[in-house]
């Protein structure tokens, strides 16, 4: 199955993986690929920092989607803005909302209470999902462990509450955001033993959540060294360089083994992308993905 086929199957994609694997880069790259056929939104919600903005070179940050390309939109959710947005649904007066947001105890509570921010970020996400006509939405999630807690908000909430606003939100979440026919996870990995085994572990853990589904794993920054044997002239005297050369040849081989193992054990579509220099424009990756 091609990446485009997978994009065709769902509306919402949660892009996650171990820290440093390229989640943001691939949120943009896959998002851009999707935007060739669909009206697409990419978004992130890191506190006060938007890697997506850096990659997209967007001029400003706003929670309301802004246009960043043909058919491509970008939104950045700031947790404090999510709280404001949430209160708006209940308190009509901007004046009262401002008073509330400046209440020190409320701030302390909101900051100290685990998952409160995450829940309200999801509330804003619901707004983007329900009130806009984006055909595809790509979400740059936090690293796997934190992402899992995001996915489990409904479970955690139902363990604590029986009714009330939180339950109302998580029911909406299950209806529009977390459901196997609407959304899926795309895991981003590197061809490294530790990263692959963590990817495998989280693949199992995500799948164990009944409403979460993993559709693809991207293995990024693959070394591609042709198996040649022998060395070329001038290299034979350079012991250190030979060691480096052999290291790459061995790594390339090992990476191949790791990926085929991952393929065997998960059964989902796995996309291998070669190493692109850090400064290379995302477009290079997009055109590579198109041919996959």
């Amino acid at each position: 199955m091609s990446l485009m086929d997978i994009i065709g199957k769902r509306r919402i994609f949660f892009v996650t993986g171990k820290g440093g694997t390229g989640k943001s880069t691939y949120t943009v790259a896959i998002g851009r690929l999707a935007s060739e056929h669909y009206k697409t939104l990419v978004l992130d919600f890191d506190n006060k920092r938007s890697t997506l903005r850096e990659i997209l070179r967007a001029s400003s940050l706003s929670a309301e989607p802004q246009r960043v390309g043909e058919n491509l939109y970008f939104s950045h959710i700031e947790p404090d803005e999510a709280l404001r947005y949430y209160l708006k649904d209940f308190i009509r007066s901007d004046f009262l909302i401002n008073i509330s947001l400046n209440l020190k105890p409320l701030k302390s509570f909101y900051n100290a209470l685990p998952s409160a921010k995450e829940m309200l970020v999801c509330y804003f996400l619901l707004h983007l999902v329900k009130d806009f006509d984006f055909e595809k939405i790509f979400i740059d999630m936090p690293a796997s462990g934190h992402a899992e807690l995001f996915f489990k908000i409904p479970i955690a909430a139902k363990g604590i509450f029986n009714k009330g606003p939180v339950i109302a939100i998580v029911n909406e979440m299950n209806k529009h955001l977390y459901s196997r026919d609407r959304s899926c996870v795309i895991q981003i990995a590197l061809p490294d033993e530790v990263v692959i085994s963590e990817t495998m572990e989280f693949y199992e853990r995500f799948k164990a959540i009944e409403y979460i589904d993993v559709q693809a794993i991207v293995v990024n920054k693959r070394y591609r060294i042709a198996n040649t044997g022998g060395i070329c002239e001038g290299l034979e005297k350079e012991e250190e360089l030979i060691r480096l050369y052999n290291y790459y040849a061995r790594k390339s081989q090992e990476e191949g083994d790791l990926v085929s193992d991952l393929r065997k054990r998960t059964g989902v579509s796995i996309f291998e992308v070669p190493f692109f220099p850090v400064r290379a424009p995302v477009d290079n990756i997009v055109s590579f993905l198109k041919d996959l």
């Binding site: 943001s24 685990p114 998952s115 009714k163 339950i167 530790v194 190493f275 850090v278």
Partner: protein
Amino acid sequence: MSRETVIFFMFGPGGVGKTTVSASLGLALSDEGRDVLVVTVDPAKRLKDILGIKDMGFTPVRVNDYFERETGRRLGGRMDAMMIDSRDAFLNLLNRYIRDEEVINQVVKNRIFKFLSESLIGAQEYLSAEKMYDMFLSNEYDIIIVDTAPSKNAFEFIDGARKMAGFLDKRVIRFFIDVKEDDFIKGVFFKRTGDFLYKILGIIFGDEFIVDMRGFLTSLSSMYNDLLMRAYELDALYHSNRIRYFIIGSPQKLSLGELTHLSRGLKERGINKTTVILNKAPFFYGRKELIMKANKIMTNCKNSDIKANLEFILAVEEDMLESIEKDMEQMGDLISQERVVLPDLYTDICNFEQLLNLGKRCRGGIRL
């Protein structure tokens, strides 16, 4: 005997070898005769694998025994390792302040307790820090090395104390425990000064939750002052000379700018000094003449496959070199740094001897 225990905080993105560096540095310091504790709060549980210790948990395990068994020689000092689990840390905290078992049971059964200690984001780091502080106060170690979770959660470790202090602030807690039961349950919200806050919290979390929260906080009320004191102490510790901040970076396939991001985070928290450990430094790091030589060989290479391979390898290496140098430079503008460079040995570390060697290299670059 009173010691000046020093805590080493190890920060770094995932996958740079933070746990390996922590464990190896611990071994090297202990080999010098210091008593060292390596604590991991990384949920990935890598420390167990690296040290080859199966049953590591909330009580420190003596690593010396394992080391001796494998290498046949002794370390100069004590080396312990432990993993902190937030639920255990919470129970530990309760046991310290609350003597009444009935009250503890009540707390543990409260849904909020489960909410705070198990499933959710942020509390875990504070609770882990709490336990780390216990170990710090125990006076048993010269050095405690804390292997934190990857970058984002690592800051939670520092911020946790201040957040907790803010939360335990009388002005916050008062709203929960001063209100009369009747008023509360009837939902007569607007009668009191703080009722507006209740209303807002009720809107966000639901009245039911607020009632639960109130029960939870009331059962803990006897320990607020102690908890608040601890949170302030911990926050003060973070800004004292008893803590050393390390940033571990590695150019291996990692995204650009993580070191800069971490330095900025530390600076924002009033921390101006750090030790940077560049783990698995790029092959050509500081060896410009070798790059030129390699490029020449590549250009003259007649076998097209090998040439393509060399070209690829050089592109990757130069890219890593460039990105790490740029990152280090940006970092230097933000925060003063002591630098340790650990070359990539191109082998995986799989025994104590190798671990200790890496640790010694690392130790060599650190002034104590």
